[in-house]
């Protein structure tokens, strides 16, 4: 359960951006990979707590989940995994450990009110 410390890092990061832009943050957009090791629901429930007493209080956290995408050497193409328990190309079945997407844990955008 490390979602609270992740939520606090998100708040710190957004707070700094808000200060730099002299703006109020209405929402934080986050890209969350399914291989990031962070659980969406746990993060959402920690976010409100992490915002308490900060300029981010009352802001929303909007999470876009990023599926796991591998590169298939046989197809020479990126493919989205159909299951986290099977790291193989969903088209041809070739195993692949070349993860292209899915590890993201990134603040992608902020909704600001000036």
């Amino acid at each position: 359960m490390h979602e609270l410390s992740i939520a606090m890092s998100i708040v710190d990061m957004a707070e700094e951006e808000a200060r730099m832009r002299n703006a109020k943050i209405a929402a934080v957009h986050l890209r969350l990979g399914l291989l990031s090791g962070v659980v969406k629901d746990a993060l959402l429930s920690c976010y409100g707590m992490a915002c308490t007493g900060t300029p981010l209080e009352g802001s929303k956290l909007l999470i876009e989940e990023v599926p796991v995408e591998i590169f298939c050497a046989a197809c020479q193409a990126p493919r989205v995994l159909s299951s986290m328990q099977w790291f193989c190309c969903p088209e041809c079945g070739t195993p692949s450990a070349a993860v292209v997407h899915g590890k993201e844990l990134e603040v992608s955008a902020l909704e600001i009110e000036q």
Binding site: H2, S9, G37, C88, A97, L105
Partner: protein
């Protein structure tokens, strides 16, 4: 009130950790110390495995270890029996190690005088996967008593690791460990993953693992020599 405006940011949430981890990795590489981290669930045998590793590697290499736990210095005391330098990192309530903790724990240590540094993470198969510690090699351990489907239940940690180690092989027959299923499950979540099947107690499989580490250390030294010439 004005309508909110959307501004693109694109910032990695764990940037602070990653920056420290990168600096640590550069330092380890420069000093030619090969750093191995260990992750597993509590009770998978990390400490016993590490104790045997330190004890036997000490004969030919300069080794040291950092051990992370929520509380107690028990593991450091146990590992100190190997005579290798060992430091405990007590995390309090934190369920994983972060790069900054490794950096702090290494203050006052001349890591340039080491060949291998081992970092034992807190027993947890979830949280440590998100944090880079600057290590060269991450081992994920699972014991034969845990069930062959561990990799399927925790695909993220197996995916963040480089090598899998199946521990307590001396108990395999007693617990009717299905080796074929376990190996297939590891390959399902991490195709091509190297696996060592060991017993810290009987010594089974330890030699192969040591040979592998020795080859890694040789590669690192060779790489450093090439870089210092260029």
């Amino acid at each position: 009130m004005s309508t909110p405006r959307l501004v693109e940011v694109r910032k990695n949430v764990l940037k602070q950790n990653d920056v420290i981890a990168r600096a640590l990795r550069e330092r380890f590489c420069r000093e030619s110390v090969f750093v191995v981290s260990l992750v597993s669930s509590p009770g998978a045998g990390k400490t016993a495995f590490l104790e045997t590793t330190l004890m036997l590697l000490r004969e030919n290499y300069r080794v040291a270890a950092l051990v992370g736990d929520l509380a107690t210095e028990n593991d450091a005391v146990r590992l100190a029996r190997s005579q290798a330098p060992v430091k405990q990192i007590t995390t309090g309530t934190l369920c994983h190690l972060e790069a900054a903790m490794v950096q702090t724990a290494l203050e006052g240590w001349d890591t340039g005088k080491l060949d291998f540094l081992f970092i034992e993470n807190v027993g947890n198969l979830v949280c440590p996967s998100s944090y880079d510690l600057g290590e060269n090699l991450r081992l994920v351990l699972m014991s034969v008593t845990e069930g062959e489907d561990k990799p399927l239940k925790y695909p993220t940690i197996f995916n963040s690791a480089d090598v899998a180690v199946i521990t307590k092989m001396d108990l395999a027959a007693a617990v009717e460990f299905n080796e074929t299923a376990a190996l297939a499950n590891i390959q399902a979540v991490r195709p091509g993953m190297k696996v060592f099947e060991i017993s810290a107690k009987s010594g089974q499989g330890m030699e192969d693992y040591f040979n592998y580490l020795a080859a890694c250390q040789d590669d690192l030294k060779a790489m450093e020599q090439v870089e210092s010439k260029s």
